[in-house]
């Protein structure tokens, strides 16, 4: 049985800055297996790696978050998807939740505490 820290996590975002920020927070929390992708297509192509958790950015070129979401869910309905966005737009978040995202994370609020809270609510 894998410990939860060994689980595979995907960070899908076209901003390298944000990728670094989030991966640092997660690795500080102890996660070891973090994969980074720049767009939705790359993420989908690698779903066979079976991530337990996907941090999905909303606005990207080549398949944005909302488009990729159903595909991720259909591949494995157990995968948890957390929607990341810097749009303080409730509508986007709601659409994401409807499409099967479990949570959403505002980039400006990305802290260890916030991420921990999200992870707790998922498990």
């Amino acid at each position: 049985m894998k410990t939860h820290l060994e689980k595979t996590i995907f960070i899908v975002d076209d901003d390298p800055f944000w990728q670094s920020v989030l991966s640092q927070v997660l690795s500080d929390m102890g996660f070891k297996n973090i994969q980074l992708f720049n767009n939705g297509k790359d993420c989908l192509d690698n779903l066979h790696l079976n991530p337990s958790l996907v941090f999905l950015d909303y606005q990207m070129d080549e398949t944005n978050g909302l488009e990729a979401l159903p595909h991720i869910k259909s591949k494995n309905s157990n995968t948890n998807v957390v929607f990341c966005t810097s749009f303080e737009d409730l509508n986007v978040a709601i659409s994401a939740m409807e499409s099967g995202s479990h949570e959403y994370l505002l980039k400006s609020r990305a802290t260890k505490t916030e991420v921990t809270r999200i992870l707790t609510s998922l498990n």
Partner: protein, 1083 residues
């Protein structure tokens, strides 16, 4: 014995029906059940009808008897549903079994019932048969389509074929022979006209047509574009053109009948001859030298005359001013008598029809003179017959729509019909003659003009200089040489600049050369030195010089010596400056005078007022009143003098306010009334025109002054009798009323001589009067000046010892009640002065005393300074509330001091200028220098209080403060450029992470900025939005708050292009700064 279980049976017969003895349906196959479950337990005969076999007369047939045959049942609830099958009796259970299958006509019916293959037993062929049926349908539809397509194609083919036929007919119908031969001469195609030709004659040899084509084919080349040859065939001449068609290896040959006719030949010959003559003549005339024109014309007349077989050819000029015509050129055939000498100045009246025809541009043609009416020696016939003319033709010469002459040809020996062709030729000849004479005339004209201009240039008073592109002199006329002092030889080839100019002039000419190069002409003055070394001033009009091809070859200059004018100009300038200086001097004097005089006056009146406020006994009061009255008088005199000076300097300004003329009159009468009474004379107002407007616009104070002056004079010089004043309306135009005010007295009057000089300054009839009557003698001249300033006129009439009348005519605008000035509140709220600290700056202690005393009476505290420097000092030391600043002070005058105070950022203290100047336009000067207001000296108590209280008023000052604080820039908030706290919080203590993030930010932000700028350049708003969105989080993480709003705006993407540019620039700048700082950061 085969037995099936239930399932098997259903599989095999899914549409079975089991009917009980009672005719009720007891069981259904699964598919039938699926279709119509309601059938179960129904009575069979009630819901089913047997279609086949066709029921017999007796309706109620026993269905149990319907075995061993095919049956078709119809379900009455659904008339479209039939079942086909057979009945079997199950004897054991006494039941009737129907086994069958739905009988559909088409597969659609099947699917309508939502049946699928599944519902049918596998062995049941009905499904496949329906499918097969469908297929056949489709195939036959398909075939139908094929047939249609075929039909269409057949029709198109028919059409195309018909078109080709028609097209093919075309060459067949051609009357010219058309042949197509291959390279060996075999005839591929030939049209009927070609086929008709049997024998060909080519190059004087005969060929039968087949042989001919074979022969000719040898001479033809496929690769030559066009070839041609001529043959004779069947008595006709043909010209053939050969067009080779390389790709198909054959020749298309097109023939043309070129058989000439005998007559045609001849006519052709003559045409050719005609053309030749014309060409000959015209070529001669085109290039002819003008001297040879006459000779050439003569020769042409001869050639033409011969050609048209005339005996005489001539040219005449029309002279319409004299109404005559004269013969200018004549040619006669040998043996024919010339008539030119007799044919001069023939009156046109002799042959009006001739002239008329010519005037219309038509030729005048007489085929036979003998056929003309015989009307005597002056008729046409009478003139022509003696000349022996039998036929004639004349053609008009019209140039520029004017008839200038004619050309004519006579036949003398016998009559001659001038054919069409001949007439044409003659007409053309006429045109040519016209042309050549016109050229001759214009050349002559040109020569004359040239002469004229040459003379002008040579003899004029302007110097002409022609230079090339490098200022080398090409030509100079006589006058220029004189002006320059050099001979033409000395000038020619030299440089104008070198010879005549000093260095400054070189530069100017350089500029001018540039202008010429651009094709610009202009005028300018230049200083030169002539050969003798004398300095001269020239006025030059320069223009670029072009050759006939439009190329710039230099410039032309026309020069005029203006040395003497320049001298004059200098003198005039000097004079003007002197005059101005003198005026300025006068002004200064005036101002000074004003100040010097008013200052002590101010003190006197001020002190008088103060004294009055103290307790006085009756003696003191009397003395005081005397002093007061003397001071008043003095003030009047001073004011008069100053007024005059002001008027002279043009510095007196008149009011333009509404006033009531009636009121003015009443006041004047009040003031002067008792003076008259004192002298025992009557003072009346006999007339006041009711038509005069109630309100007029003008200067009531000055009007008052004038009236007082005149009335006082009248009273002064009248011992007995009366003084009368009248107001009349003379006339009215639009808004202006012309008022005439008359002041008449019964006084001593004036001599005529005196009247003349009345308005001169300082003039009184005799000096004794001055002493007797007092006065400076300025009054009248001031009145005159004032009246004239008002646009009016003043006139005097007087008779010695009888009296005087003075009339003042004034044009005044009509006013309305609104124009009247509102009465000023007479009281000033002086409470504001209490405990205020006021700085009084004036070099004169008297003036200071006056101001201080008044102000301290109302509770103000006073500081004094006697010059600007001390004033500044005081302001810096003490919290002054208001400054009174005298303007003219030693050491540092008031204006400069104010400027310095303002420069020290002391903007809230009001500074009031004290000035005796108050000339027109000075107030602006004060306000410009930082003053808030000004008081004219001598000011009275009321004016001083009013002004100081106004400026001390808290509200005013507060508003000013507010206004100023608004204008002051907001101090830049102590905003940090960026903040790493947030970043540090993400992974506390992790310096590596922080450095990495910082590096990342630097790279990303620079590249993103570049992307945004590129996107902006290519107007890609979507891209800008995307990049801005991307940058937002990192900017937020680094706490770069100053641009967060801008990034957000860019992300929204609703700004104008201008604002986008601004935001981009701002963000760019801030990020650069941040990155630079991050460069040097120590974590």
């Amino acid at each position: 014995m085969i037995s099936f279980n239930f399932e098997q049976f259903n599989d095999i017969f899914p549409f079975y029906m089991l009917i009980g003895k009672d005719l009720k349906i007891t069981a259904l196959g699964k598919s039938l059940k699926k279709l119509y479950p309601e059938i179960l337990h129904q009575s069979f005969p009630e819901i089913f009808q047997v279609k086949i076999p066709v029921p017999a007369k007796e309706q109620s047939a026993d269905i149990f008897k319907l075995t061993h045959q095919m049956v078709i049942l119809n379900y009455t609830e659904d008339p479209l549903f039939d079942l086909r099958g057979q009945f079997e009796v199950i004897s054991a259970s006494e039941q009737l079994l129907f086994i069958g299958t739905p009988w559909f006509k088409s597969i659609e019916e099947l699917t309508e019932k939502s049946l699928t293959i599944h519902d049918f037993a596998n062995h049941d062929p009905s499904f496949d048969l329906l499918h097969s049926l469908k297929n056949q349908e489709t195939i036959s539809q398909d075939l139908k389509k094929v047939l249609e397509t075929l039909k269409k194609q057949k029709n198109e083919l028919k059409k195309a074929s018909k078109e080709i036929e028609e097209t093919a007919l075309f060459p067949l119908q051609n009357p010219d022979p058309l042949v197509r031969i291959d390279t060996h001469g075999s005839i591929l195609l030939a049209n009927p006209s070609a086929s008709k030709l049997i024998s060909y004659t080519y190059k004087n040899r005969h060929y039968p047509h087949k042989e001919f084509w074979k022969t000719i084919s040898k001479e033809l080349q496929l690769n030559e574009e066009k070839q041609s040859f001529e043959i004779e065939a069947d008595g006709k001449v043909y010209s053939f053109i050969v067009i080779p068609i390389i790709e198909n290896n054959y020749f298309n040959i097109y023939g043309r009948d070129i058989t000439p006719s005998v007559d045609a030949d001849l006519a052709l010959k003559k045409e050719v001859e005609l053309q030749n003559i014309l060409i000959d003549i015209s070529s001669k005339y085109i290039n002819i030298e003008l001297e040879h024109v006459d000779q050439a014309i003569q020769k042409s007349l001869e050639a033409l005359g011969e050609f048209v077989q005339a005996d005489r050819a001539y040219i005449f000029d029309y002279d319409f001013s004299n109404e005559t015509t004269s013969n200018t050129f004549e040619w006669c055939r040998a043996g024919i008598r010339p008539e030119i000498d007799q044919l001069q100045q023939i009156p046109l009246a002799y042959f009006p029809q001739w002239v008329e025809k010519h005037a219309k541009g038509e030729p005048f043609y007489i085929p036979d003179v003998s056929l003309l009416p015989d009307e005597g020696p002056d008729s046409l016939r009478g003139i022509l017959e003696p000349q022996g003319v039998k036929s004639l033709i004349t053609l008009p010469m019209i140039r520029n729509h004017k008839l200038i002459g004619f050309i004519g040809f006579d036949a003398v020996l016998k009559t001659h019909e001038f054919e069409e062709k001949e007439r044409k030729l003659l007409f053309l000849f006429t045109q040519m003659i016209l042309n050549i004479t016109e050229r001759k005339d214009s050349e002559r004209h040109l020569k004359i003009q040239e002469e004229k201009y040459r003379n002008i240039i040579t003899n004029m008073n302007l110097g002409i200089l022609e230079v090339d592109n490098h200022e080398n002199i090409l030509y100079a006329n006589k006058r220029f040489c004189e002006m320059a002092g050099y001979s033409l030889k000395e000038l020619h080839g030299g440089k104008a600049t070198d010879l005549l100019l000093e260095k400054k002039g070189h530069q100017l000419l350089e500029e001018k050369r540039n202008l010429r190069n651009q094709g610009i002409s202009d005028n300018f003055e230049i200083s030169v030195k002539n050969k003798a070394g004398e300095k001269k001033w020239w006025f030059v009009s320069g223009s670029p010089n072009y050759n006939d091809d439009g190329e710039l070859i230099g410039s032309l200059g026309i020069h005029l010596d203006i040395t003497s004018q320049k001298e004059l100009e200098k003198e005039l300038i000097q004079a003007k400056e002197d005059a101005e200086a003198s005026t300025r001097a006068k002004e200064l004097f005036l101002a000074n005078m004003s100040h010097e005089i008013r200052t002590p006056m101010n003190a006197i009146t001020g002190m008088i007022n103060q004294l009055r406020k103290t307790v006085l006994d009756s003696d003191q009061t009397f003395y005081l009143n005397t002093i007061n009255s003397a001071a008043d008088n003095l003030l009047i005199i001073i004011n008069d003098i100053l007024d005059l000076s002001k008027i002279e300097a043009g510095k007196l300004s008149l009011e333009e306010i509404g006033f009531e003329p009636h009121h003015v009159l009443t006041r004047v009468m009040q003031v002067m009334g008792h003076k008259a009474e004192e002298k025992g004379i009557k003072f009346t107002n006999s007339t006041f025109d009711s038509q005069i407007s109630n309100v007029l616009i003008g200067d009531p104070y000055r009007l008052n002054q004038i009236l007082l002056n005149l009335i006082s004079n009248a009273i002064k010089f009248t011992e007995k009798g009366n003084v009368d004043i009248t107001f009349e309306l003379i006339s009215e135009q639009d808004d202006i009323q012309n008022i005439k005010i008359g002041i008449s007295d019964t006084g001593i009057g004036m001599e005529e001589e005196f009247v003349k000089n009345l308005f001169k300054k300082f003039h009184q009839e005799d000096s004794s009067i001055t002493r007797k009557f007092g006065g400076t003698g300025l009054g009248m001249s001031i009145c005159k000046e004032l009246v004239e300033l008002m646009g009016g006129k003043i006139t005097v009439s007087s008779v010695k010892n009888q009296g005087t009348s003075v009339f003042v005519l004034l044009p005044l605008l009509k006013g309305k009640a609104e124009n009247l000035p509102t009465t000023k509140p007479n009281t000033v709220d002086t409470s504001i002065l209490k405990d205020k600290l006021i700085l009084v700056t004036d070099d004169n202690d008297m003036n200071r005393l006056v101001a201080s005393t008044i102000l301290s009476n109302y509770g103000a505290k006073i500081l004094e300074a006697d010059n600007g420097i001390k004033a500044i000092d005081q302001v810096e030391k003490f919290p002054v509330d208001l400054i009174l600043m005298d303007i003219q002070m030693p050491m540092l005058d008031g204006l400069k001091a104010t400027k310095i105070i303002r420069q020290k950022e002391i903007t809230e203290i009001p500074i009031i200028a004290l000035t005796a100047f108050a000339l027109k336009g000075d107030d602006v000067k004060f306000l410009d220098q930082g003053m808030n207001d000004y008081l004219a000296k001598p000011f009275d108590e009321y004016q001083l209080l009013e002004t100081t209280c106004k400026w001390l008023d808290n509200d005013l000052r507060n508003d000013k403060d507010k206004a100023e604080s608004i204008n002051k820039k907001l101090p830049d908030s102590t905003e940090k450029l960026y903040d790493l706290e947030k970043l540090k919080a993400l992974s506390p203590g992790n310096k590596l992470f922080q450095q990495k993030m910082i590096d990342l930010f630097k790279t990303l932000s620079s590249s993103s900025m570049q992307e945004i700028k590129d996107a902006y350049k290519s107007s890609n708003r979507e891209q800008i939005k995307k990049i801005a969105h991307r940058m937002k989080p990192s900017i937020s993480s680094l706490g770069i708050t100053s641009i967060q709003q801008d990034i957000r705006k860019l992300e929204e993407g609703n700004m104008s292009d201008e604002n986008i540019q601004k935001s981009i620039n701002k963000i760019d700048k801030v990020i650069e700064e941040v990155n630079q700082e991050l460069e040097h950061i120590q974590l």
